[in-house]
Structure formats: C-alpha cells, structure tokens
C-alpha cells in the first residue's frame, strides 16, 4: 500500500499550480464573472499547450497518455484557481464518454481535438429539474434523429459537440436509453444561454429539432455508459471541490491572521479559530475520500461506484462548508462583489448540483454499499 501521489505527480501539481497562478489570477476569473467573455480562451489554449487537457487521453489519440491520477492532480488545481474554462464538461464528461464508448473513428476525430484545445465538448443529460435517472430522459431519438430539449447543459453555449442522452425505447428499463454524438454547430440545434449561480461557468438550454446524430456506444447501452461516466466525473469533480475548499480555507485563515478587531487578530478568538478548525476537518475528510476515489478510478477497481459516491458527497459538503464560512470569517468584506469569497461560494453551490444533487448521491452511496454487502 502507498496511499499518496508519487513524486512525479506532485511535481505535476506544482507545475499546474504555478501555471494557474500566473495565467488564471482572480483578475482573469473576473473577466468571465463580469460577463465580458463566456470563458477564458487564452487560458484554454495555455492548458492545451501544457498538455493538461489531454493528460488522461492515450498517446495514440493525441494525449499525454499519463492517466487519471495525473488528471486528479490537475483537477484539484483547477478548483483552487476557480478556472473559468469548460474543463469539467470537456475533459471529465465528453472525453470520458468517448474513452468508454467511442468507436475508433469517433475517438480519432474528437480526442485529439480535445487534447489540442480545438474542440469543447459537453454532456447533455438533464431536462429541467430532477436528477440523473432514465425516467427523466424524454428527448427522443428515432432513426438517428433527435427531438427534445436539454437544460441545463454546462458550457452548452460554447461547446462544439455534445454527448446526448436520448430515449430509444419505452420498456421502463435502463435499456431505453442510448447515447448520441451531436455537432452543435450543425443544423437542427438551437442554443440559448441561461443565467446561473456561477457566471464563471456557463449553462445553456439546447433544443434539438429533427437533428441528425450518430450513436455513441451500442443502442440501449446508454444508461450503463452514463453511470460509468458520472462515477468518473464524480471523482474528478471531487478533486476540484477539494481544491476549492482548500483555497477558501486558506483565504479565511489568511484574513483571520491579518484582520485586527478589539486590538487583536480575529484569528485569536476561539469562535473564529474553531470555525476554521472545523473547515480544516471537513476539507481533510474530503481529501482522504477523494484519494480513495482516485485510486479506484485509476485502477478501474470494483470499488469505484462506492468510492465515487463517497468522494462526491464528502467533497460537495466540504466545499460548501468552507466557502460559506470563509464569507463569515471575512465579515462585511466577505459580502462584497470585490472580494473573491463569493466566487467560491457560487462555484461550491453550483458544483453541488452539476452531476445530480447531494440527496441523489447519498441515495446512490447507500444503494451501492448495500449491494456490495449483499454480494
């Protein structure tokens, strides 16, 4: 057993942290926050040049062929920096779906484009309120033609292609669902931007009207592929959330050391100290759960479904907790637009919903533990 990242991986982390500190300072995040551009194109290009976009994509498809542990390391840094780029949609969702289910031709077409930063991808799963469930997929596919509306679709307004979940049967079973690949710039697609909690990451509504699409994976296999994609993304997002939680904790700590009230640093009051200690505790639990998820992901272990759900819950809670109390430590300053606290608060709460809600994952975790115990 060795429950830690390797020295090479730690070096990669340092490299990513340095890169992001330089290319993605809060000032850059704010350009997107203030709506001046939908995402940071320069940063996206830079990430491609650093090889970060294709870190887990095999070399034969234009990636670095490193692996998921390396991707986890980078995800954490993306979360710390609150990077305003379509990283999670493209890399955790679209690329992973292609890796799991894409045909050789599909992989050859899209994966190199992802690695080089030329293509942005996303997953179009949700249709209004509700959580991942075959029942909630109403968009239909017949003879390779899609009809229906997806919403919200993360980064939908800037994506070049989407993996779309569609209903191809009505038996009431998981096998009613199939996946399709759609080029969003082609005909039959109408995209509308939607306002959302976290303006540093766009959300969109995409309407498909008699839209031509090619299947991704076998017909009827859609739900089982999606489940795998969501589990992988849960671990990767957990690392982003851990990075965000740590950053929020650090901001709070630094402010508590600096800010003087009553003639002493506010960090010398136990109310503040203990609040920060509790933030540290939840961030640590989340980190440890995420490490386990990373191991399960990187070895494709049978434990992945359970490990992914645990990492997801723990990291969601930790990020929400740290982001919220970081504002509290900052007092009035924390409630200004000018301070960065709200950026993390927004991201934390948006990320809590992106792959399905906390309640959904709680339910999944217990289901999975129960199945394991029964086996």
């Amino acid at each position: 057993m060795n429950f830690d990242f390797s020295d090479d991986q730690k070096q990669l982390r340092d490299q990513a942290r340095k890169f992001l500190a330089e290319k993605c300072p809060p000032k850059a995040v704010r350009v997107v926050l203030d709506g001046k551009t939908p995402y940071d194109k320069e940063l996206w290009k830079g990430l491609a040049e650093m090889g970060f976009l294709g870190v887990a994509i095999p070399e034969e498809f234009g990636g670095a062929g490193a692996g998921h542990l390396e991707l986890c390391v980078i995800a954490e840094e993306m979360g710390r920096a609150n990077a305003p780029v379509p990283f999670s949609s493209t890399v955790y969702l679209a690329a992973e779906a292609l890796l799991i289910a894409g045909s050789d031709a599909q992989k050859k077409k899209w994966l190199p484009a992802i690695a080089s930063g030329e293509a942005i991808g996303t997953l179009a799963l949700f249709e209004g309120k509700g959580n991942p469930s075959p029942k909630n997929v109403k968009l239909t596919a017949a003879n390779g033609v899609l009809n229906g509306v997806k919403k919200p679709v993360a980064d939908g307004a800037i994506a070049d292609f989407a993996v779309v979940a569609a209903r191809t049967g009505s038996s009431g079973r998981d096998s009613d669902i199939s996946l399709f690949l759609v080029e969003l710039r082609a005909g039959g697609v109408e995209v509308k931007s939607l306002t959302n909690l976290d303006p540093t990451r766009g959300q969109a509504e995409i309407a498909f009207k008699d839209c031509k699409a090619e299947p991704l994976g076998a017909a009827g296999e859609g739900w089982s592929i999606l489940t795998q994609v969501l589990d992988r993304a849960a671990v990767l997002c957990a690392f982003e959330q851990v990075g965000g939680a740590d950053r929020a904790l650090e901001m709070g700590r630094d402010y508590a050391l600096d800010r003087i009230a009553f003639g002493r640093p506010i960090g010398s009051f136990q109310a503040v100290k203990h609040m920060l200690a509790d933030m540290y505790v939840s961030a640590t639990l989340a980190r440890s759960n995420s490490y386990y998820g990373a191991w399960a992901l990187s070895t494709n272990a049978a434990e992945l479904p359970e490990a992914a759900a645990a990492a997801r819950i723990s990291a969601t809670q930790a990020f929400q907790h740290c982001a919220k109390n970081n504002i509290q430590v900052h007092g009035g300053m924390g409630f200004t637009w000018e301070f960065d606290c709200h950026i993390y608060y927004r991201r934390a709460n948006a990320m809590a919903l992106g792959l399905g809600s906390l309640s959904y994952w709680e339910d999944q975790l217990i289901d999975r533990m129960r199945k394991k115990n029964a086996a």
């Binding site: 209004g128 309120k129 003087i260 509290q328 300053m333 200004t336 301070f339």
Partner: protein, 414 residues
C-alpha cells in the same frame, strides 16, 4: 397564557384588516408574495417609490409607526397592537424595507436623546416615509468592534467638523438623514471618546459611493466625510456618551431585525408542497419531511419567543438580549433552507432566471443573500458572545484594548 385576541384586540384587528383591504396596493400582491430575502424586486416599479407611497398612505390613515406617540407621527398603539398590525399587513410589510433602519433604529434614538424641537421636526417625516434615514456606524476597521471607529468630529465654535469614512451603510444612497457616531476624544479609552449625531445626508462634504454586493445588488455604500459641518444642536446625548447612546440603537436594532425576520420556512413549505420528485410529491418523502419538521420547529420556536418578548414589552419590560437568538437562528437556517431547496430541484437548481423549474429563482437569490444575515447587525459570533455574557453571565473575552487610550491601541488590516 392566552393566545386568542381579547375583544379589544379582535376589534382592532378587524379595523386594521378593513383598512388594509381598502387601501393596499393589491396589484403588487402576487409579486410581493414571491419575494423573499434578497429578492424584493418589482418588475415595473422601484421599491423605494412604491414603499414611500404605501408608507404615506399608512401615515395618513394613522397606521405608520404604530407604537410611536401621536405627536411624533405614530398611533400610540400597544406592542400587541403592533404585532396584530404586522400580521394583517402581511406581504405588504415587505414594502417597509427601506424604512426599517429609520423606524427601528434611528427614530428610537432620536426619540430618546433628541430635543423636543428635533423630535417634532424629524420624527413625523420619518414615520410618513417622506424622509429616509440611515445608520452610519461601521467603518473599515470597526465592524464588530464598533467602538474602534476612527471618524473624527472636532468642535469648532457651535459646530462640529467631521472627517472620516463609514462603510456598509445600507440605503445611504437614497437616505435624507443619517445617525452618525464619531470619535470626539482619541486620548481616552475607546468606549469613552465617542459622540452621537444626526446629519443631513445632503450636507456639503458628504460623498456616497455604492458598493456592489456579493449577490450582485447594490444596497450598501461607503460614505466619506470631508469637513462636514454639523451644528451642535444635532448632537444626541452628551459629548463622550456616544457608546451608551449607540447601545440604545443597537438594542433596538436587534428588536426590529428580530421582529420581521425571514426564516425561509414558509417558502420552503410551499415549495415542498408543490414539487414533484421522482417517486411522488416532495412533501411525502421521509427525508424531506424530516428536514422540514426540524426547520418548522425552529421557526415556530422563534415566533413564540418573540411573542414572549412582546408579552413582556406590553407589561412595560424592556426588550432584553434574549432577542439576539432570532437573527442567529434564522441566518443559518435561511442558508441551509436555500441550499436544500436547490438540492431538491436537482441539476436545474443552478439556474437563476425566472424559470418555472426553480420557482422563479427564489431560493437561488436567498442563497446568495443569506450570508449577509449572519453578518449585518452583529455577526453570529458576536451574538453568541452577547448571549453567553449578557444572558448567561459568563465572563467577557480577555481584553487587550479596553483601558488603553484609543490612540495607543495596535491597528492593522484594511
């Protein structure tokens, strides 16, 4: 112990109800019902304008600042009558938002410390909403530690000359008058060198700069003072007694914030009653019910705590620090409720537009606004200190700054 109206109370309620029915701006009812913390936005109206119109109407009908004496614009009503009024006013009460600081904090301070002449001049216009007041206490280096404030007031003949900066002043941008606490003597320990004033916000040298909030709105401000002249007649209380005067304001602040506290529970209950989850109505789901029940119990606990206070008040007792629990409990609860409401909406919960799936973004706004409830008017931590020290009698924090001359206290920060 009696929760029912006495015959007099019932008669009062009936009168109030009839007057409201005849006079309230009903066209706003639907929009106001949908608004909650951080989201009083009317599609075709400015809240200050409609607020002023409603306030004026109430004033003319003798329904403004009910518990104030008649000569100052009130009705001389009892605390219980005031509660009855608030119950009947219902959603229209949300229109009083711009006046709450004036009615709840500035008015009572002027009432307690102003000259008779000042009271007669300023209070009726405050009550009628014609003049809006703000509270100029917090400074960049003095929030929780208000007594650490630096804004200077120096005596020049019959006037005071004020220089310095305030921050977080809610409503300063639309206020006509302000209650200002300033340092008049930096050579004595910090609580002893303060003095309270009120001033015309249009005085030369007052500059108001709006601050954009974390929730995207602009409701609070920085206020700069450059050689602003305030006549000594606008001093409230003795020179150097400003801390005592401010405690009156702050006690009243707690009371007024406490009274119309948003908890998020009614909105949440409504959401759960209408929302369909995968397996059926949200309200039938045991996990949802368990959360709702704990919140409902907290919110009713708060409500009845405030009734107990009102009963005490109506026997002539003063509002005590027990009231601090209101904001402490509801601030955190609002935040939790908003988070959970979005959780129930699932992936669509992230959207903030006027979407049907997200109940018009009501909870999303609540989430973004709720952090301020835990900070404004005393942070959660300060409120816990108050409860521990003033209710339970525990010792205060060890103080390094209390008996030291103000200009000898170490400073650092913003």
């Amino acid at each position: 112990m009696n929760f029912d109206d006495t015959p007099q109370e019932a008669a009062f309620r009936e009168t109030a109800r009839r007057w409201i029915e005849a006079n309230a701006p009903r066209e706003l009812h639907a929009e106001l019902s949908k608004s909650s913390l951080g989201r009083i936005r009317l599609a075709n109206h400015d809240i200050v304008d409609v607020g002023k119109a409603w306030q004026k109407k109430k004033f003319e009908g003798n329904w403004a600042c009910l518990h104030w004496p008649r000569e100052y614009g009130g009705r001389g009503a009892t605390p219980i009558e005031k509660v009855i009024w608030q119950q009947e006013e219902g959603v229209y009460g949300k229109l009083t938002q711009p006046f709450q600081i004036g009615e709840g904090m500035c008015g009572p301070t002027v009432m307690a410390f102003g000259s008779e002449e000042a009271k007669r001049r300023y209070l009726p216009k405050l009550a009628s909403g014609e003049e809006i007041w703000c509270q100029l206490f917090s400074e960049p280096s003095a929030g929780s530690d208000v007594a650490g404030l630096r804004t200077r007031a120096e005596k020049k003949g019959d006037n005071w000359v004020v220089n310095g900066q305030k921050i977080w002043t809610s409503g300063a941008h639309y206020s006509d008058y302000g209650l200002l606490i300033a340092r008049t003597d930096p050579n004595v320990p910090k609580h002893k060198g303060l003095t309270m004033f009120f001033l015309d916000m249009k005085s030369p040298g007052v500059e108001v700069r709006p601050i954009k909030q974390a929730n995207g709105m602009q409701e609070f401000n920085e206020v700069y003072f450059t050689d602003v002249v305030i006549p000594d007649s606008q001093r409230l209380g003795a020179v150097g007694d400003g801390w005592n005067v401010s405690l009156t304001t702050l006690m009243n602040e707690r009371m007024s914030i406490g009274a119309r506290l948003a908890t998020g529970v009614p909105e949440m209950f409504e959401l759960c009653s209408n929302l369909m989850l995968e397996d059926g109505p949200a309200i039938d789901d045991p996990a949802v019910r368990s959360k709702l029940a704990s919140w409902a119990a907290k919110s009713s606990g708060l409500k009845y705590t405030s009734y107990r206070t009102i009963s005490a008040l109506s026997k002539g007792e003063r509002p005590g620090p027990e009231n601090s629990i209101g904001k402490l409990v509801s601030g955190m609860m609002l935040q939790d409720i908003a988070t959970y409401a979005m959780d129930l909406q699932g992936a669509a919960g992230v959207l903030t537009g006027n979407d049907e799936e997200t109940a018009q973004g009501q909870f999303q706004q609540m989430l973004l606004s709720s952090p301020s409830m835990r900070i404004a008017g005393g942070t959660d931590e300060i409120l816990r200190n108050i409860i521990a020290e003033r209710v339970l009698g525990l010792p205060g924090d060890i103080r390094v700054d209390k008996d030291v001359p103000y200009n000898k206290i170490p400073t650092k920060g913003r």
